[in-house]
Symmetry: C2
Subunit: 403 residues, 2 copies
């Protein structure tokens, strides 16, 4: 008699953004005339830039001709893309093409990286945190049991609070796997290189592995904030880095990302680069060829110029939110090296109460901080991915309602 | 101190097709003048048909315009594709769009389906078998330990032999999860509906789940051979079906597939449709929008006409191999409802010896049967995915060498 994976049954049935979508849909149905402004989910809105579209179309044409048709590609990605990434993003960091694994998304990679680690490793996450790190460890059986108001029994939560400027302290009980995401989702704060270096030292000292999600690195503007964990000395023996074209080049619907595993990185004397290679070549067949050509075009000089313009557009939106809310007396964080603004909810409200108020009174959608973890309570995430016009309108509505 | 997943370490370091590629490369380097004919890996060669290319290009253009740009899509696939699949492939089988999960490949889905099942389930596979079913269960820890000449201690092997026309017998010890692939890879034989119905009855009787890989269903021509396991009565309470556009429409480099999990299918009273939905929405972000539009175009009337022509081309190649080898006195199986021909190697040779002979004397590449499992020994897989000219040439070379 077949048995299900019981860990799945422990998971709450619905995913945060599904819950939000349901509330928003219900509101829209009751108020069909209201223009809802969505600053909730972290999804881009600017179209793909022309060199990317052209590259995808040209590759589609190649696939339609016998002479240039391509079947199965290398599971870890075509050399043309891996080499371009290495040369462009890791030029001075000594990362080579065969340390880069192309995939269909950072969610896939951060969600599946656990496959190569034993089930008895302890896992540490920031609190609040991107739910995928926790949920996938629940599925694997590393999380223990859930208690309302406490969280998962085996997960080491690292509180990210106003007091520590949302940068976690080194845990006293040493975890084996440490998920870090900077610039951070949801808080939008970034971690200076000097502080990230402490984490690298800590991981090397204790034999931990840092799973570093750098999905938002393209938004970094502050001097001294690293784009890659491999800017830190010693990171190659303790870190895996996840990057994505989603926020960098608007690929949320196009799907391309990559994961960097240095060859120096070992656990139990075993190369994690080799294990991930085995995992990927057994469980997937590589990314669509036209999508890989599209990703390559992001690095062309015209591609770079245009994606930087899009990022600047979102950065300007973040500034509009930050400055507008600050001026009106709100306490806000993040939004400088990140598309996310982390707003303190007005006193006396929970973050879900504020969500409801904002939706029903302003028709503005954000994400309640408590959806990201216990210590997200009292905060609210706003994203800069809408249009400039809608962003301005949303800020104006919030300020007028809550001033 | 971080621990690796020890099950990974148990796996043989290299994958069958990597080993073959290495041998072929070494031969080509020594003999640069030889024209090698590849009938080894099961990869298509005919280009994408025009409606598919056009749909992908149009979708790429949509992604380049703000008004038509798409960000994150639904993880399980866009309704336009799920509904088209349901209407076209499952019209009379009562499968609805929300029982269809679009993905980037059947390898991803057959490789990851184990996520939703407990680790204590017993697994049965055909022998010989597509290596992914076994390797992914090794990784998860369901396979036990490996002994040379015996296989994995906890896997139930179901021998597919000349004596049973390569159709396995119902296992005496009841397994929880049963992988079946028909038309079969590697043997190329198909299973009549009456016989598949016995498996469905067996699974329902014992509470087992059949993981049915129908990647080659588009090649079925024999009356009474099912395209889908859901043609069998009762399959909705015991089966998951995997399908792919790879062999149907030449998508090996374009990447799109889907998995069908009926809502009736439960284990421990839990809906497997719901569990897979949770798995997919937590561990991936859907398939590239232009790729989903490309897949949709496969079902247009012009798309159907043209992909059927490509399949007919491969089917003709299979006939060339079958008839050519039969005429020369070889014993051959499969190749009718399948792009694969399963050839008995000349007496006194192992399948790897025959591989080496064929490579060095004929410059023809096939796949040694023993690479697919113990009971593949003595057989050899030839594929019909090369050009007609190369297929004819390869058969001629084999016949001349071994007649």
């Amino acid at each position: 008699m077949v048995k299900v994976n019981e860990n799945f049954v422990k998971l709450p049935a619905s995913y945060l953004f599904v819950e939000i979508a349901n509330k928003v849909n219900a509101f829209q149905q009751k108020n069909p005339e209201k223009e809802i402004l969505r600053l909730g989910i972290g999804d881009v809105t600017r179209p793909l830039v022309k060199p990317v579209v052209d590259a995808m179309k040209q590759a589609a044409d190649e696939m339609g001709q016998a002479e240039t048709f391509r079947g199965y590609g290398p599971e870890a990605g075509y050399a043309f893309l891996r080499e371009t990434i290495a040369a462009h993003d890791y030029q001075n960091l000594g990362i080579s093409a065969d340390e880069i694994f192309v995939s269909d998304g950072a969610k896939s990679d951060t969600g599946s990286i656990g496959d190569i680690f034993g089930l008895d490793n302890t896992v540490a996450v920031c609190d609040p945190v991107y739910p995928v790190y926790v949920d996938t460890n629940v599925m694997a059986g590393r999380a223990g049991d859930f208690t309302e108001g406490k969280g998962w029994s085996k997960i080491v939560y690292m509180p990210c609070l106003e007091e520590n400027y949302f940068l976690p302290a080194l845990p006293e009980t040493v975890p084996d796997l440490i998920y870090l995401c900077f610039p951070n989702n949801p808080s939008g704060v970034s971690m200076p290189k000097s502080q990230l270096q402490m984490w690298v030292n800590y991981a090397n000292e204790h034999g931990s592995v840092i799973l570093y999600d750098a999905a938002y690195e393209a938004f970094v503007v502050t001097p001294g904030v690293p784009h890659s964990i491999f800017e830190c000395e010693g990171a190659k023996t303790c870190a895996i880095e996840f990057r994505s074209f989603s926020k960098t080049a608007g690929f949320t619907g196009t799907r391309c990302a990559f994961t960097v595993i240095p060859k120096e990185l070992k656990a139990d004397g075993v190369s994690l680069n080799r294990l991930w290679d085995r995992r990927q070549s057994t469980k997937m067949n590589g990314v669509s060829y036209p999508v890989q050509r599209a990703a390559e075009a992001v690095y062309s000089s015209e591609g770079q110029k245009l994606v930087r313009e899009n990022i600047a557009y979102y950065q300007n939106n973040a500034r509009i939110i930050l400055e507008g809310l600050k001026k009106a007396g709100f306490t806000v964080y993040g939004g400088v090296d990140s598309p996310y603004v982390w707003m303190k909810v007005p006193q006396g409200m929970t973050s879900w109460q504020f969500f409801d108020e904002l939706l029903t009174k302003c028709a503005v959608v954000g994400t309640p901080g408590s959806g990201f973890g216990l210590h997200g309570e009292g905060f609210f995430r706003l994203t800069s991915f809408n249009t400039k016009e809608n962003t301005e309108k949303a800020v104006q509505r919030i300020v007028e309602q809550f001033k």
